[in-house]
């Protein structure tokens, strides 16, 4: 009796999961393995792949644009992720102080993160427009200069970072929810000991929030290397002087403009490996510092 029940549940379990097994195999596992194979070939979509061993990878090492675009993506990730995390937690801490109108402020901070990426890119091009942009309308009267933000080799890349920080609303909502789960008793105990607000934040709030921070940082690492639409729309060809040429845009151009599918696949795999390594390092590094509630 119990045996047939088990097999019935197995049967049902496999049947219910079947759509995902198919989706996983066809739309994920197959393309993943195929791109690994392609990365060792010379391949245009029109002719079949020709095996060339490690040539794509050795060519990449000598490819200046590869290093440049990879550098740009790292620069973006290394600044945008800590900055975004810092701002999101800061806003969440501010909002968590039981201020009147909390829901309104939360909505205000959250709204920008709802803006779809195409209007987002178009809007930020306009904000930082050197001639009539609103940023220069604020900068010019104070500093008496009108920087050409979008065309400046030092500034352009950073606009992408500011833009991503504008969209931290999503992360802020997560941190705010995390803060509201911190047991009030911990603060009450600290109050009895006469702890200052800063000390409470440092010794109670942040440790209690650390698992959430870790999860979000890992997800941000995975996401930031894939940022595509913003640089593609805002800075065609990575202008000025390739300073905004991101790794994912280079992969796209190599595959779909230059028709070098094998080379693009090799870059795709390098991106995958970078994400795996960074995720591993982030988890290893933070795991020691993350406070897990015993439960």
């Amino acid at each position: 009796m119990s045996k047939t029940k088990v097999t019935n549940q197995t049967k049902a379990g496999l049947l219910f999961a079947a759509p995902w097994f198919i989706g996983f195999s066809v739309f994920l596992l197959y393309p993943l393995l195929k791109s690994l194979y392609n990365s060792f070939t010379e391949y245009t979509i029109l002719t079949p792949p020709v095996w060339i061993g490690l040539e794509n990878y050795s060519d990449l090492l000598k490819d200046e644009l590869f290093w440049k675009s990879l550098g740009n993506s790292f620069y973006y990730a290394l600044i945008a992720i800590p900055l975004g995390t810092f701002v999101a937690i800061g806003l969440a801490l501010l909002l968590n102080q039981k201020v009147k109108g909390q829901a309104f402020y939360r909505t205000f901070f959250f709204l920008p993160s709802l803006v779809p990426v195409v209007p987002l890119a178009i809007l930020w091009l306009w904000l930082f427009n050197g001639e009539s942009g609103i940023i220069n309308a604020i900068v010019e009267p104070i500093f008496h200069v009108k920087p050409n933000w979008l065309g400046d080799v030092k500034l352009a890349k950073n606009i992408m970072i500011v833009m991503s920080t504008w969209g931290v609303g999503n992360a802020m909502v997560i941190y705010l929810a995390g803060l509201q789960q911190v047991p009030v008793a911990l603060y009450e105990a600290a109050d009895l000991d006469g702890a200052s607000p800063a000390l409470k934040t440092w010794r109670i709030t942040l440790p209690m929030l650390s698992p959430v921070i870790m999860f979000n940082v890992v997800m941000s690492i995975i996401g930031s290397f894939q940022v595509f639409a913003q640089p593609y729309i805002m800075f065609p060809g990575g202008a000025p002087e390739r300073t905004t040429y991101f790794f994912s845009v280079y992969i796209y151009d190599t595959a779909f403009r230059d028709n070098r599918m094998g080379y693009a696949s090799a870059m795709g795999w390098i991106m995958f490996l970078i994400i795996l390594v960074l995720t591993y390092v982030a988890i290893k590094y933070m795991d020691k510092r993350v406070h897990y509630e015993a439960n």
């Binding site: 995902w20 993943l32 195929k34």
Partner: protein, 290 residues
């Protein structure tokens, strides 16, 4: 006396917090207000420097102009109407597929026992780390072999086969539903499908709403997918359509770009105000249960 000064200090603190919050709110809101303001200006006012802050007089006609911009190339049909129709159609197909498939698959991972389930679930979670650029090329080749390139099919059919993030989200929710309910239904002779349909689904509605919401946002937002698979302007979605509108043939003037952008943002903002609770709770749970 001491108590009074403490109270006084609290009031200044609270006031300070509000000042900071108002200032920050301005930073977050001004870009959006600037978008709307520009969308209502004449071309001369839009480009004036120092800027004209409030359109005077407002030009709501810009929206009609943006809607119809480039109509000549499309045999007199408003391009934005075509893009919006395409975006909505793809969104309906994607959201339906995402909700149906993930609801079913998550049931298996959350409430049924089968050998290898936990390993399969771990692998499922790991797939979230696979970046799209690594599978982009073979996926394109696959869809080309299927004869799907140029149609909407590459954009919505995969949604019918579930995905790691939503399986994870729904599994978390399904597991909070008491197992006694399933047991009771089983004793009544219900099949797993009947339990899923009659016991679990009605209770899972809030979670399914969140999945629907996120998946709608995802397709409405998607730029790379349509860019890869859609070549004919008549098949463009709003995302690629507005990008083309901005960049091709000299490009539309800025006040019309902002009007078009506002039209693409507006449905999302409206949706947010109707489903605020689902948005906030959905985001919170997706980020907390790690």
């Amino acid at each position: 006396m001491a108590k009074k000064s403490l109270k006084h200090q609290n009031i200044t603190n609270v006031a300070l917090v509000h000042v900071v919050l108002v200032f920050l709110s301005a930073i977050f809101l001004i870009p959006l207000l600037w978008m709307i303001s520009t969308s209502l200006k004449t071309d001369v006012q839009a480009l004036a420097f120092p800027p004209v802050w409030v359109p005077n007089p407002p030009q709501p006609g810009n929206y009609k102009q943006a809607w119809e911009y480039g109509m000549e190339q499309l045999a007199g049909q408003a391009p934005m109407l075509i893009y919006a129709r395409n975006s909505i159609l793809i969104a309906i197909l994607t959201v339906t597929g995402t909700v149906v498939s993930n609801a079913i698959v998550a049931y298996s991972f959350a409430r049924l026992r089968w050998p290898g389930r936990d390993i399969a679930f771990a692998i499922t979670l790991a797939t979230m780390m696979v970046p799209f650029p690594v599978i982009m090329v073979p996926l394109f080749g696959l869809f080309k072999d299927f004869g799907w390139v140029g149609s909407f099919r590459p954009l919505w059919i995969p949604a019918w086969f579930a995905g790691a993030f939503n399986i994870f989200l729904l599994r978390q929710f399904y597991r909070t539903i008491p197992f006694e309910l399933s047991e009771a239904a089983k004793i009544d002779g219900c099949s797993e499908w009947a339990i899923f349909q009659q016991v679990i689904l009605p209770l899972a509605k809030p979670a399914l709403a969140v999945v629907a919401l996120f998946s709608f946002m995802g397709t409405w937002n998607d730029f790379l997918g349509p860019l890869l698979y859609l070549q004919d302007q008549k098949t463009f979605t709003l995302a690629v359509g507005i990008q083309a509108f901005r960049s091709q043939a000299g490009g539309a003037p800025i006040h019309l770009q902002m009007a078009a952008s506002t039209m693409m943002v507006a449905p999302i903002i409206i949706l947010f105000f109707f489903a605020q609770k689902q948005f906030i709770q959905g985001i919170a749970t997706s980020g907390l249960k790690g």
